[in-house]
Amino acid sequence: MGRQSEIGHLRLFDFRNYELLDLSFQKRFVVFAGPNGAGKTNLLEALSLLSPGRGLRRAPYGEMARQGTQSGFSVKASVRIASEETTVVTSVRLDGEGPNSRLVRIDETQAKSAEELLDIARIVWLTPAMDGLFTGPAGDRRRFLDRMVLSIDPTHGRRASDFERAMRSRNKLLSDNRIDDRWLAGIEMQMAELGVAMAVARNELVANLTNAIALADPDLPFPKAGLVLSPGFEEGGLDGPAVQVEDRYRERLARDRYRDAGAGRTLEGPHRADLEVTHLAKHMPAGLSSTGEQKALLVGLIIAHARLTSVLSGMAPILLLDEIAAHLDARRRASLFDLVGDLGGQTFMTGTDESLFEALGDRAQIITIADGAVREPREE
């Protein structure tokens, strides 16, 4: 299947608890093992910077720079795509010399936007921070959904941030009590175009994902998830051709200016969407499932999405699975390793105990970490 990207080398400079670190990866499964606080998640975070956004912790860049450094940090990775080597460097300067965000260079050329990273690799992650996804705020599920869309449709990120900007502009005019009809109409037109495009893309992802889940082997130890998207639009929702949905939304935005001014925010739009997940076999909302069931549902969802990404984008995604083995019993662990192996992409995992990865045998490269340093990969 299509192109496959594999990270061959990683170099960190003043990133989190690493002053300088060089790692080479030889296998499709890489395990970072080591005690609490060793710096395992930090490594996954560094790898997650190979995708647009602020990485898997969504932390401010200032926090990623090693404490005590004044200049900033950099993360350099060599990625092999169909035997061709590409170098990606992300750097952040904190001394006021650079831009206020990260600078991405791909083969020595400054990327015009972070979206260019999606030509290099598609990165998908699962972290313990996502454990409360089904019970937590809708905003977390929207972000989860949008990242899933983004790894298939690279234009989605720009669309979402442009929508957000247009909406904030409208909110500002309304809260300033500046009801300039022409100006607001110009903004609301953007909101309608961008917002409906966002909703359509999300809808399409949910439909595709639902199909992918339906096709999955029913005997897997990861329960199937039912997905229902409520798109955030009132009267008529997403029914009808996109232009009509846009017109309806635009008209309602114009109508509801005073209501929204009173509320202090825009009450309708894709920013109010939610993704409802159910445990299909049990007909239970995912939020009411047991802790272990929720984790297994989430794993199933991530795997289905990874498979979908690889079918639709032609690139098998690189998976970052933080503490994945901890909540799964031996049978589920072995099954997970096989499923992930079948995807064909590279997978990075972490764990405090090497023995959790025994089922991988010599498929895995185990890298032992202690306190911001690495013990050379074991000789087999």
């Binding site: 001394d95 006021g96 010399e97 650079g98 015009k112 936007s113 234009t155 720009r158 442009d162 900007r165 247009a166 904030r168 502009s169 409208r170 500002k172 005019l173 300033d176 500046r178 300039d180 022409r182 100006w183 109409a185 110009g186 903004i187 037109m189 953007q190 961008l194």
Partner: protein, 201 residues
């Protein structure tokens, strides 16, 4: 803050240089040091050139371009089609289009885009001047070449609304300009293509 290591004159120079786009405090320090070291070959001619610019360079009262004459060279150029006016956000966009030799037309510099978040309203831009210019009847076609950002698009929409009822054909610079792409950074080939394929609204 680092303790000052040079006299106040140098510190002032560094502080001013640091206000230039693309220069942070560290590179401003480097530039200042370079200037005072290269006193005769650089500092003196630069000082003269800056005094000259301060004295002679100003904004064109017709289009907003920066030039030594008012109206500017472009506005006075009889070889240009003065009935076609390209509306740009900034003088840097005008210069980018000129470098690309994309169109033999006149310009109108808006001086920015509408941005509630940055507190820029219609009164801060030269929209009124543009409407007046068009009302005089000599302008037959407007090419709206604002950047494809949220603010750019909103401004274009606002402009179109203002121009309604006036006898002018308005087109948008559309193809080949990536969303969020800034005109100033486009390579010149892309720009010429974009200009040729501008679409009527």
């Amino acid at each position: 803050m680092a303790k000052s290591i040079a006299g106040p004159e140098i510190e002032r120079l560094i502080q001013l240089l640091a206000k230039l786009p693309g220069l942070g405090p560290r590179s401003a320090r480097r530039a200042a040091l370079h200037l005072v070291k290269k006193r005769e070959p650089i500092l003196r001619p630069l000082t003269a050139a800056m005094a000259d610019a301060l004295e002679k360079v100003g904004e064109c009262s017709v289009c907003g371009n920066i030039d030594t004459s008012d109206p500017c060279t472009i506005c006075r150029d009889p070889a240009r089609d003065q009935s076609v006016v390209v509306v740009v956000e900034d003088v840097s966009d005008l210069w980018a289009l000129e470098r690309a030799k994309a169109l033999n037309a006149a310009y109108h510099v808006l001086g920015g885009v509408l941005s509630p978040l940055e507190g820029i309203g219609p009164e801060d831009l030269t929209i009124r001047q543009l409407v007046e210019r068009v009302s005089k009847g000599e302008v037959k076609e407007l090419v709206i070449a604002v950047n494809a950002t949220v603010e750019g698009q909103t401004t274009a929409h606002y402009l179109m609304d203002q121009l309604e009822g006036l006898d002018v054909r308005a087109t948008r610079l559309a193809h080949g300009v990536p969303v969020g792409g800034e005109l100033d950074y486009l390579d010149e080939g892309t720009l010429s293509a974009a200009m040729r394929s501008r679409t009527a609204l």
